[in-house]
Assembly symmetry: C2
Homo-oligomer: 234 residues x 2
Amino acid sequence: MGTDNRTLHNRVLAVLGPAIAADEYEPGHAFTLQGLEEDFGVSRTVAREAVRVLESMRLVVSRPRTGIRVRPRSDWSVFDPQLIRWRLAGPGRMAQLRSLNELRAAVEPAAAALAAARGDAEERAQLVVVAERMTSTGQAGDLDAFLDLDIAFHRRILELSANEMFVGLSQVVAEVLIGRTSFHLMPRNPRPEALRLHTAVARAVADGLPDVAEAAMRSIVSEVAVALEADGSA
Amino acid sequence: MGTDNRTLHNRVLAVLGPAIAADEYEPGHAFTLQGLEEDFGVSRTVAREAVRVLESMRLVVSRPRTGIRVRPRSDWSVFDPQLIRWRLAGPGRMAQLRSLNELRAAVEPAAAALAAARGDAEERAQLVVVAERMTSTGQAGDLDAFLDLDIAFHRRILELSANEMFVGLSQVVAEVLIGRTSFHLMPRNPRPEALRLHTAVARAVADGLPDVAEAAMRSIVSEVAVALEADGSA
DNA sequence: CCGTCATCAATAGTGATATCAATCAGTCCG
DNA sequence: CGGACTGATTGATATCACTATTGATGACGG
C-alpha cells in the first residue's frame, strides 16, 4: 500500500512514523540525530531526511541544542494520508476510523449533490452501472469484489464533484471502507437497504437531482456511523 | 504566517513550493539536484532535504537517472496546509478559495451539530459571548477585529466538535476567512442577517440543539458561496 | 541573602564537500 | 527485434566547519 520502500529514509519513516503516531512517545520527547543514526544503523544524511519529512507533517520540531522534539497531537497534520495510514495501522485505528467516518458523513452528501449538479453526463450515467454491479456481487456474497466496487463507487462520486479537496479524500474514504471490512464491521452480505440506497444515489446523480442524491448519500454514511458506534473496542 | 524561515531548505521550499503549486512547471517536468543546487546556491544536502519535503507532499517524485519530476496535480496532497497556503498565495487563489469553501459548507454544519451534541457545556456557553462581540464590532464597522472574532468563532466550533479531523481544518477555515476579507469579498459592514445567524448558531450549540445549530451554520456557509460565485475573477 | 541579568562554554542541529554505490533511460550492436 | 552497455543522476556515507540555543556560572543590585 503506497509507501515507497526503496529509499532508506522511507524505511526509517516506516518505523518511526507509526511509533510516534501511536503515541509511543510523550509530546516533548526528544530524539537526537545521533540516536536515530545508531538505532537505525543509517547515516546522518538519511536520519536527517527522515526528520525533515516528520517535520513537514508537524509531528516533530527540530532545533539546535534541544534535538528533535515530538509535538503535541493537536499540532499534527491530521489530513496527511501517510499519517492517516500510520494511525490506522496502530492501536488508534478505531478512533481514527470513527473520526474519518464523521468526516465522510459531512463530505460525501455534499459531494453527491455537486456530482449531480455539475458532473459529466456520461460519467454520471456510468455510476448506475457500478451500483448495479454492487447489487449483484453483494447478493452473491462476494465481499472482496463488493469492496472494490464500493470503493470505486464512492471515488467516482468524489471525482464527479469536481472539487479537488473532495477528490483528495478518495484515498481516505477507500481506507475507511477497507478498514471497516477488515475489522468485520460489515455484515457477511451487505444489507439490502444499503444496496438500494447506493442505487438511489446513482440514479439521482445520473438524473441530475442534487437534493435527492444528497439525502440518499446521507442515509448511506449515517448507517456506517451506527455500525462503528456499536463496536466498543478502542 | 507559519513557515519557518530559519533553515536553508525551508527557504528553498518557500520559492520552489509556490512555483510548483502555481503550475509554473508542467507535470513531468524534471529538475535535477545539481540544477537546484546551482539555482539556489545551496549544497546537495540542503537541496535534497527540500526535495524530500516536496516528495512527502506528493508534488514531485525523485528517481535515479530521471531526476525530480513534477507529478500531475491529481496526485498532490491537497490537504497539506503548506500547499494550501502556497496556492492561496498564487494565481490559483480564487479557485482554491472556492473549493475550500465548498469543503467548509460540507464540514462546518456537521461540526456545529457535533459541538452542540458533545461539547463541554461551559465552553459552549462562551460561544454566545463571542457571537455577541461579533455583533458589536460588526455594527461598529471594525473589520479587523471582526475578522479575528469570526476566526475564533469558527475555530471554537470545530474544536467543540471533538473530532480531530474537523479541528485540523481550523487553520484552513481561518485562511479562507482571511482570504475572503483581503480580497474584498466582504461588505464593509457584515450583513445583519449574518450576525443574526452567528448568534443563532451560538445559542443552539449552547442549548445543545444539534439540528438547529446545523441548519443555522448551513445558512452561514452557503451565503459565502454566493459571494464567491458572484466574483468571476480567476 | 536573594533575585536578576550578562557572559560563556558545551551541545546538537545546520550546511558544505568529497566520494562511491546503485539505478535506469536511452543507445548501440548483434 | 532484443539484449548488453553506458553515462547521467540519485542514493548513501563520512567528515568537517559553522551556528544557534541552552543552561551554568558569576557579578551586580536590591
